[in-house]
Amino acid sequence: MRPRALAFVLIAGLLFGYGLALSTMIRPEVVLSFLRFQDFGLLLVLGGAAGVTLLAYRFAPRLMRRPLAGDAFGVHPSALNARTLGGAAIFGVGWGLCGVCPGPAIAGLGAGNAPLVVALIGMLAGAYVQGRWFGD
C-alpha cells in the first residue's frame, strides 16, 4: 500500500480513536451500564457512527470513480449463516462479561486504561483459537 494511503488510514484511526475516547466507550463501566439499561448513550454512539458511515457508503461510489488513494470501493462481507449469527451470540456473551469490544481494547490503551491490555490479550487468544481450529 502506498505511503499516502497509509497516511489516510492513520488519520481515519485517529478520528476513530478520539471518538471512542470522547464518547467514553473505552470505559467498560459505561458499556456495562448501557447493557444494564442505566445509560442509553451507546445507542447514540452507534447510531451516529453508522449514520455518517452510511452516507459515505451510499454516496462516495456514486460521486467518485475511485477512492482518493485506492483502486476500488470495498464492501463489508457478511453472509447469512450459522457462523455469522452463532459467532455474534458468542461475541455478545464475552462483550457483556467484560464491557470491552475489539476497538476500545486497542484505543483504551492510548487513554491510559492499562488494565484493558488483559482484554486485548484475551481477544488475541480468542482470535487464535478461532482461526486455528474453527476457521472457515
Binding site: F8, L10, S23, F91, I121
Partner: protein, 154 residues
C-alpha cells in the same frame, strides 16, 4: 432525558459522529471497510504458519490494519492530552476482562465482525446478516451483563 442519559448526551453523539467520520474517511480515501476485529486475526499471520492465518485477506491487509490500530491508540492519546481528563482506569475484574475478552475475540472472528464490523460497517451498508448479528449480540450481551454482576458494581 436525564433518565436515559444521566451523564449527558452530547459527548456520546459527537464521539459517535467522529467515529463515523473516521470510518467514512477510510472509505472515501482508500475504499477500505474499517471493522476492527480482523486486526486480531491478521496479527497471527505474522507468527503462525497455520493455513487460516496465511490467507491473503489477512496477510495482504495487515499493514494498514496495524496503522489503523496505531491510529486508534494515538487518537485516544490525543483526547487524553487535550481533554484535561485523568487517565481512565477500569475497575472491572481482571478475570472478567480476560475471559470476556477471549470469548468476545473468538465470537467476533467466528462471526466475521464485531461492534464496528457488523455494527458500523455492516449496518451502514444495509446488510441483513449484520443487522441480525447486531440484534443477537446486543441480546446476549444484555443477558450476560445482567446475570454477571461482580462485587463493586462492575
Amino acid at each position: 432525558m436525564d433518565a436515559l442519559f444521566p451523564h449527558g448526551y452530547a459527548h456520546y453523539l459527537i464521539g459517535g459522529l467522529l467515529i463515523g467520520a473516521g470510518v467514512a474517511w477510510l472509505f472515501v480515501s482508500t475504499g477500505l471497510v474499517g471493522g476492527i476485529s480482523t486486526f486480531y486475526t491478521a496479527m497471527w499471520s505474522l507468527v503462525s504458519r497455520a493455513p487460516h492465518f496465511q490467507q491473503p485477506r489477512f496477510t495482504a491487509t495487515r499493514a494498514w490494519r496495524i496503522v489503523y490500530a496505531l491510529g486508534l491508540v494515538a487518537g485516544a492519546f490525543v483526547w487524553l492530552l487535550t481533554s484535561g481528563a485523568p487517565a481512565v482506569v477500569t475497575h472491572v475484574a481482571p478475570w472478567q476482562l480476560a475471559l470476556g475478552g477471549f470469548v468476545a475475540g473468538f465470537g467476533a472472528r467466528l462471526s466475521g465482525g464485531c461492534t464496528s464490523g457488523h455494527g458500523i460497517c455492516g449496518l451502514a451498508s444495509l446488510q441483513l446478516p449484520s443487522l441480525l448479528a447486531v440484534l443477537i449480540f446486543l441480546a446476549t450481551a444484555i443477558v450476560t451483563a445482567n446475570v454477571v454482576r461482580a462485587p463493586g458494581g462492575a
